[in-house]
């Protein structure tokens, strides 16, 4: 390996590495630093308080509420994103002509900008004139306060999250399905298996890794959610639909409590880290 190749390689990647250290590594460390301090209204003054921020969060109702909501939000959304996406992938796979057109149309929610999705669903959820309110009333549900009822608000917004991301799941799962050798299915049919058997014993095991990566990705993105809750309910009514991202935003930019917000963000990060580290080895199987 020539020295020239070595040093040139480093030069090529240096700009990106530098940017990432400045934008990611340094702020991450600064966030950890901030979480051990308390800020006053005047942000120039930081007071070291050790673990006080973290300890006080344990008894902070707003934080615990947001934590609970975030877990419901993440796992609930992803469950439906994956199941709907899988169903869509299976359906599209079984179509003879026009697969791509169907996929493209199904993909539209993922392509649409998040804020447009939030706006249109907020309009559809309108208690008096919303399209959804009317349609659902025809089936007999006369609930009208989709976004105005503390019990419903979080779930109403989750529907939007599911709607937006299930096409992505469909795309990835469709690709995974395509990679399964047809010969496996043919052999199973000869042996007399029905579609339930082939699904459980061929399709699912072969899709294991794709499912693992997909769910990990979707859960991470779900933990990162912000736009939908902010634009549609702002965490309300009250704080019934607050998720951690929104909580951090409010504590940092509305309450000017940077130390507290940094601590909350750190907890969010650690949660995701632990989940990823525990989850992936459990599900992902290396190809032999």
């Amino acid at each position: 390996m020539s020295k020239r190749r070595y040093s040139q390689g480093v030069l090529f990647v240096l700009p990106v590495i530098t940017v990432m250290i400045v934008i990611i590594a340094f702020p991450l460390l600064y966030n950890i630093y901030l979480s051990f301090h308390q800020s006053s209204i005047y942000t120039a003054v930081l007071k070291y308080v050790g673990m006080k921020n973290f300890v006080s969060l344990i008894s902070d109702d707003l934080f615990i509420g947001a934590l609970k909501n975030t877990i419901i939000w993440a796992f609930g959304s992803v469950f439906f994103q994956v199941t709907l996406g899988f169903a869509a992938a299976l359906v599209v796979q079984n179509i003879y002509a026009g697969k791509r057109i169907f996929q493209a149309l199904i993909l539209i929610p993922w392509i649409m900008p998040g804020i447009a999705a939030a706006a249109i669903w907020k309009w559809m959820y309108h208690p008096d004139f919303g399209a959804l309110t009317y349609l659902v009333a025809m089936i007999g549900f006369t609930d009208r306060l989709w976004l105005g009822d503390p019990q419903l608000a979080l779930y109403s917004v989750m529907v939007v999250n599911i709607w937006k991301m299930y096409p992505f799941a469909m795309l990835m799962l469709f690709a995974g399905l395509r990679a399964i050798p047809k010969s496996l299915y043919e052999a199973a049919v000869i042996d007399g298996a029905n579609s339930y058997h082939t699904f459980m014993n061929i399709t699912l095991p072969m899709m294991r890794n794709v499912l693992a990566i997909l769910t990990l990705l979707l859960i991470i993105w779900a933990f990162n959610s912000f736009t939908f809750i902010f634009a549609m309910t702002h965490g309300g009514p009250g704080s019934s639909s607050e998720i951690l991202g929104l909580r951090i935003y409010k504590d940092a930019l509305k309450n000017m409590m940077f130390g507290k917000a940094a601590a909350e963000a750190l907890i969010l990060f650690v949660m995701m880290l632990v989940f990823s580290v525990v989850y992936l080895p459990l599900i992902y199987r290396q190809e032999k």
Binding site: I23, I111, A119, V210, T227, M272
Partner: protein
């Protein structure tokens, strides 16, 4: 037997159509509402097909709100972010794909892992820093911070593409007297043009709808982007829904139009990328 098979076929297409309706209905409703006259918007039951379409909401949004400014801001920020990201990522991807240096794989994996970092973890420190250097409410505050979203992804994607292209062509060019950079520019980039375009498209889409940083780092319509503008429209006490639908449609166009033209590439390219990784 024949009718049984036909029935099966119809059932499959019907199922597929259910998914299509689920996906597309809100979009169609958005466009339909945007061309509905104000008087017809607030009716029970809702008027499904606009019988007397009008452009009044578009006229209102474009000329009587800051929508045009928001649109320009988004276009500017997303474009510059994409250009900068691609420029840096092409070099970095090339470096990762073609040379071996100590720590190369470790650094590459850590770039991938940075995608797992929640933006919320760096938004507070970035805000404090931007506050201190007085860069809040400026274009650079967005362009620089958006690199958090786009740079790792672009680098990783381009690294993958470049690694899959055999290096013989560049080697041949260099034997003919090209420098390494020359080989990159004259040989590899033209060959990977579609892949670079796809990466750039994805970066643009991400930057176009980014919300958190724009919300936290900008405060005036001078610099604010479309998502913030529209969020403002629906956050008011009396929401002008016709205007909001028109604004949302306008905000969706720069992404939807290229998608509708190139949808084949999109769907296929994704399938390949996901399988080969």
């Amino acid at each position: 037997m024949y009718s049984g098979k036909l029935l099966q076929k119809i059932a499959k297409y019907a199922l597929a159509c259910i998914f299509v309706v689920f996906s597309v209905f809100p979009f169609v409703w958005m466009v339909s509402s945007s061309i509905k006259p104000q008087a017809r918007m607030y009716t029970i039951p809702p008027q499904w097909i606009p019988l007397s379409p009008t452009l009044e909401h578009y006229r209102f949004s474009l000329f009587e709100t800051s929508l045009l400014r928001f649109f320009f801001n988004s276009l500017f920020v997303a474009s510059v972010t994409t250009i900068v990201s691609i420029a840096l990522a092409v070099f970095a991807g090339y470096g990762f794909a073609r040379s071996r240096f100590r720590g190369r794989d470790v650094i590459a994996i850590s770039i991938l892992f940075s995608q797992m970092l929640p933006a919320a973890v760096i938004v507070v420190p970035l805000y404090v820093v931007l506050l201190k250097v007085q860069l809040l409410d400026t274009y650079p505050s967005l362009i620089i911070t958006y690199l958090f979203y786009t740079l790792p992804l672009c680098t990783w994607m381009l690294r993958g593409f470049f690694a899959n292209i055999p290096s013989e062509l560049e080697d041949a060019a260099m034997i003919d007297g090209c420098t390494r950079i020359g080989a990159l520019v004259k040989v590899l980039i033209p060959i990977s043009a579609p892949a670079i375009a796809a990466t750039a498209t994805y970066a643009f889409i991400v930057a176009w709808q980014e919300f958190l940083f724009a919300l936290c780092f900008t405060t005036s319509p001078k610099v604010q982007t479309l998502p913030i503008g529209i969020a403002g429209f629906i956050g008011q006490f009396n929401v002008n829904w016709g205007g909001v639908m028109a604004s949302s449609t306008i905000a969706s166009l720069p992404i939807l139009i290229p998608f509708m033209i190139f949808y084949r590439r999109f769907v296929e390219g994704f399938a390949e990328g996901a399988v080969t990784g």
